[in-house]
Symmetry: C2
Subunit: 347 residues, 2 copies
């Protein structure tokens, strides 16, 4: 069952903890073609005992988060003769922690894994919570298991390896956390510059917020679903782009999703006032690039929503009743969904 | 955590229980190219409410227990728009219950599955215990998770659809259970004709024995490992055959494995007497076809043993201290393993 203590390590204590965790076990490091070049040297500089650890590399990008790459990871783990008490160290963004977590949790019915998120998105969200997954034929996260990492180590210095787009993308999940927390958190959040790295304390607060929600409902039966705010829409937008060989940063899809789902909440009458809705939408319009949606793609996007994992029979959303007051399990008529998407693309 | 009640249904009560379980949920049926023809009609005759359930079919045989077929199952489940509260009904032998269990347990991070074993091997062993898995590049069961089925329904009439070889193969796991239980069980076991279907009560007793061992140690940390008797060797023999596009019935590999591992136990001095060892070996020689091993393949077979999931650093066996007294975690020198294999191929 869930342990009461945190498995997220941050700040001063984390270096010694990481050294302990990685010295006790046989380690293999999983990178993508970007992190092997830009992040692995940074890690090895501080932790030279890992210099001889085998390194597995998959090509970067969401399009490689698939079973073929998982299969290649299995083959490497086999070749290395790794056994059940080995640990896979996932060094990268969401693609690496999602795929590496899935590969580890299914290799020989499960070896342990440690996440070291290298993106802001990873530090405040993707690396935390044990939702491992890969895409199947461009449908997002269709193959996966719930399996907690042994630990998550957050080293903010990896933020220096990121582009402005990746920083901005990470802020979108932090925006979601603020909207789920309180009006006060949302007011405070809007003061930050989303083109800059957040202060360390804010990163930690966001990681801890995610962890606390996960710990209240690891298997995503109820409370954890509040984290889906913006995501029913975001996942459909991402699947639709992926099918056309386009990749949009996850955070930009989430920002568009929160915009559209604020509209949806207001229109179906969850309680979200038009004032709150417009305030959220105005913030998103000024802070995040717009995701291009063509009018004749809207039906396809709605049909992709029907394949979302969280659905029972109808398309299901997590929406706001007001800022700081999330609702789960909302199943609006598709006419409202269509209208909300059209509102975004004409905004 | 583990529930105290059994999820295996057998005999008179099982028809009503099955009807209940499959009427409450949205069902898809997974078959292979053999069971769709020979077993599905038998099932539908008794349970006509399943006439309209969608049927997924994969090609039969161990060589198809792979991620490509899992991927096709995911695609079908997606196309059917199945959601988290759907149930996959696995109708078949070990390949179907292993692969179907894995596909279900990883589809959208897990839907429920029900096993209906159609082989004797499935009824007394493979369908029970929640070890789901598929092969990766001809290495057996490399991708998998521990995930219990919602229920297992044992309908002995499916035995009528089996060949003599499949019946005989199933008896090998029952032989293992007898050897693990007691000298008395082993004496009683030897009275049966392994070319005939066992009596219903013996099937049920074997299914319950497997279940009780599994329930004592679901994650295979200690006691469950007694069930590996014969299997370190059997898995290597099967992997080696699979790599040459040969498929041997699992039970024949297990019988050869128990023969070889009895020799190994005697030679390293676990306590197994030469009298017990010879009695086991003589029984196997008269009751099961011999698995062909060429002398120049022995090194390759030992190297395949090193990749077994249960290993820590060395090749690990579960052996007998005497009949009815299993030992786990034995790591013999490879010279003994070689000698035991050579003894079998020259026997």
């Amino acid at each position: 069952m869930l342990e009461p203590h945190s498995n997220i390590h941050f700040g001063a204590e984390s270096f010694a903890k990481f050294r302990d965790a990685t010295m006790q076990n046989e380690i293999a490091i999983l990178c993508d073609s970007h992190t092997v070049e830009h992040c692995l040297p940074v890690l090895l500089k501080d932790f030279s005992h890992l210099n001889n650890a085998p390194v597995l590399v998959i090509p970067e990008g969401e399009a490689n988060k698939n079973l073929d790459q998982v299969s290649k990871v299995y083959e490497e783990l086999l070749r290395l003769n790794l056994v059940r008490n080995s640990v896979l160290l996932n060094l990268g963004g969401g693609v690496i922690t999602d795929l590496g977590g899935f590969a580890a949790s299914t290799f020989k019915r499960g070896i342990q894994y440690i996440n070291i998120p290298t993106t802001l998105m990873g530090m405040v969200d993707a690396a935390i919570g044990g939702k491992t997954a890969v895409n199947v034929n461009l449908f997002r996260n269709i193959a996966g298991v719930f399996a907690q990492p042994l630990s998550v180590f957050i080293f903010p210095k990896f933020l220096e390896t990121l582009s402005k787009v990746e920083i901005q993308s990470g802020w979108a999940e932090m925006m979601k956390h603020a909207l789920l927390t309180s009006g006060q958190a949302w007011e405070a959040f809007q003061q930050y510059d989303t083109l800059q790295s957040p202060p360390d304390a804010l990163i930690e607060a966001n990681a801890r917020f995610k962890e606390s929600v996960v710990n209240s409902d690891f298997h995503d039966q109820n409370r954890r679903q509040i984290l889906n705010l913006g995501h029913t829409t975001a996942h459909a937008l991402e699947s639709w782009n992926l099918q056309q060989n386009l990749e949009i940063p996850h955070g930009f899809a989430v920002a568009a999703g929160i915009f559209i789902e604020a509209e949806l909440a207001m229109r179906i009458g969850t309680g979200l006032s038009s004032g709150e809705c417009r305030e959220i939408q105005q913030y998103i319009s000024t802070q995040f690039p717009k995701v291009i949606i063509e009018e004749n793609s809207v039906d396809k996007i709605i049909s992709l929503m029907r394949n979302d994992k969280k659905n029972k029979q109808q398309i299901t959303f997590s929406l706001l009743e007001s800022i700081g007051m999330p609702l789960i399990g909302i199943e609006p008529d598709e006419a409202y969904i269509r209208a909300a998407i059209l509102h975004y693309l004409h905004a």
